[in-house]
């Protein structure tokens, strides 16, 4: 009998498969294709302190083996989520990873408090947002800012705090260590790579927001590399993501160092991807005589 249970930040996940925030709504739509209890957990749509309408459309552009998106954090706000959405998910059979984005340190702290009083299992903090009080530079691109933000939020957070890292940085390991030093209980990576696609006939970017985040299989090599690098320098566990399309991809992220792995853009192609993934993982474990999936976390050996 193989074990696929993972203890992540003290919480038991029945399997290592979760979903990436922003690709899965609040579970309702994909729940019509696969029972949510098939997942170890799922990442809920990114929340902000107050409701947001998001960007104008088009919000998506297809690229080779990937997509650009710029939804702009359309969401009903953290209070609505706490009062209405989370209660309805209480018995869905999978852990809910709430995801929050803030304009200021204060907003992050307030959201952490609100989410701490819900049944969300984990609070994931998206730090790829512009820091409004400091010229709009993204929180996630400066190690000191990440450290201070994490430390501040941690004081208000009664749930495991996972910091979601932006890949648009010179040194992912510096940012990861800063988050760990600030008290993060876990890390998730990678968020999207910033990209742009131009319609050559109209001479305008396809996205109404001009630029957007690249995700999908195209970014997987960058994601695997960053998960590997981060796993080498931190002790806290990692949620790996970036272009997962199969169970083999999940295994690759786990070998690189991820304890949990998120499906994301791949769901748009295969809404029942989790079923293939679970079958492939079981086959891989059997083929290689692996009894406990925890044994493969970070088990890659360099050449």
């Amino acid at each position: 009998m193989i074990n696929t249970k993972i203890n992540f930040c003290g919480i038991e996940f029945k399997n290592p498969i979760v979903t990436a925030s922003g690709t899965f709504g609040f579970g309702e739509e994909y729940g019509e294709y696969v029972d949510l209890s098939e997942y170890g957990g799922f990442g809920a749509k990114g929340l902000t302190r107050y409701p947001r309408e998001g960007n104008k459309a088009p919000r998506i552009a297809e690229t080779p083996s990937g997509i650009l998106n710029s939804v702009g954090l359309q969401n009903p706000g953290v209070e609505y989520f706490a009062a209405h959405t989370m209660p309805s998910l209480k018995n869905c059979g999978a852990h809910v990873i709430a995801n929050m984005s803030g304009n200021t340190v204060e907003e992050y702290c307030e959201m952490a408090e609100i989410l701490s009083d819900t049944d969300a299992a984990i609070i994931e903090m998206n730090i790829s947002c512009p820091n409004v009080k400091h010229g709009g530079l993204a929180f996630g691109t400066d190690a000191k800012t990440v450290n201070e933000l994490t430390a501040a939020v941690k004081k208000h957070c009664k749930k495991p705090l996972v910091v979601k890292l932006s890949p648009n940085v010179t040194s992912i390991t510096d940012i990861a260590k800063a988050a760990e030093d600030g008290g993060a209980d876990g890390l998730s990576l990678i968020n999207t790579l910033l990209g742009m696609k131009i319609d050559i006939h109209s001479r305008r970017p396809i996205l109404a927001n001009n630029m957007g985040g690249l995700s999908g299989p195209a970014v997987k090599p960058v994601a695997v590399r960053m998960v590997y690098q981060v796993h080498q320098v931190v002790k806290i566990p990692i949620i790996g993501m970036g272009g997962v399309m199969s169970g083999d991809d999940v295994i690759e992220f786990m070998l690189a160092g991820a304890s949990l792995v998120a499906l994301g853009t791949g769901l748009f192609v295969k809404p029942d991807l989790i079923l293939d993934v679970k079958r492939d993982i079981a086959a891989y474990m059997e083929r290689h005589g692996i009894e406990d999936i925890n044994d493969i976390i970070g088990a890659v050996r360099l050449n």
Binding site: Y30, Y33, E53, P58
Partner: protein, 254 residues
């Protein structure tokens, strides 16, 4: 649970250059399909995302959809052969709503926007207006004629039928005839004109919209259109709340 389906391609034609008319076998989709809904199709050819393609007809355990080759995905789809299996999600979305009070219905379609209207036209005996760029792009006229009260075809260049925008033909018709609902699908300028005409005349109007899509089921929030409401209802999901909307619900702003 809903599922993606591998549907066998059983008939294929190219009624006018670049437009492909496919029929696939799927008792489940055929049974569920409502007019105005769409399929989300994995086209192959190295493209990543599925392509939303409207349902044209559904009967005898089969679903028919007609699409234009616009890029790599639709090109790859067009290259499929009879007997091949096509990976389909659907039927998806909120289609046209036909109500008992719809006694005098008008259907108006422009270009490739005529295809999603056929199943509707079979269901509601209507006066149908079909607009095309020119005579060589006219398609499905006879099929609509076989199910409609009347069919008026127009071409932008006047090479066939009514000369000018088809919305003007409809507007002239409405001067003299009763109408309690307009169903429309077509390019945005046409939809804007139809919306304006309907609202000026106080006629209920249902518009089928297009937008670049991701998941197709309402989870990813990329295919939004702007509603006339504010706040959290400002952005509606074309794939889930639509693709068909009451014209008073949406702004059609870019």
């Amino acid at each position: 649970m809903k599922q993606t389906k591998l549907c066998k391609l059983i008939s294929k034609s190219e009624p006018i250059p670049g437009i492909f008319d496919f029929t696939v076998e799927s008792p489940e989709i055929a049974a569920e399909a409502r007019c105005g809904q769409f399929l989300h199709i994995a086209c192959g050819g190295g493209t990543f995302l599925r392509r939303p393609i409207s349902i044209c007809d559904a009967r005898d355990n089969c679903v028919r959809f007609i699409f234009e080759v616009k890029g790599e995905g639709t090109k790859a789809l067009a290259e499929r052969n009879i007997g091949d299996f096509i990976d389909v999600m659907g039927p998806l979305g909120h289609g046209f709503e036909v109500k008992p009070e719809h006694k005098n219905a008008v259907i108006i379609g422009g270009g490739i926007g005529v295809f999603p209207l056929f199943l509707l036209a079979k269901q509601v005996k209507s006066d149908v207006f079909l607009g095309f760029r020119g005579k060589d792009r006219v398609v499905m006229e006879d099929e609509f004629a076989s199910v409609a009260k009347s069919v008026t075809v127009g071409t932008d260049d006047g090479s066939y039928g009514y000369k000018g925008y088809i919305a003007s033909a409809m507007d002239e018709y409405l001067d003299k005839n009763p109408c309690d609902v307009i169903f429309a699908c077509g390019p945005k300028p046409m939809l804007k004109a139809v919306k304006a005409i309907a609202e000026r005349r106080g006629i209920e109007c249902q518009l089928s919209l297009e937008q670049r899509m991701g998941c197709g089921i309402g989870a990813c929030l990329v295919c939004t259109c702007e509603s006339t409401k504010d706040g959290m209802d400002k952005q509606l999901r074309v794939c889930k709340n639509g693709p068909v909307f009451d014209s008073r619900e949406v702004t059609l702003n870019d």
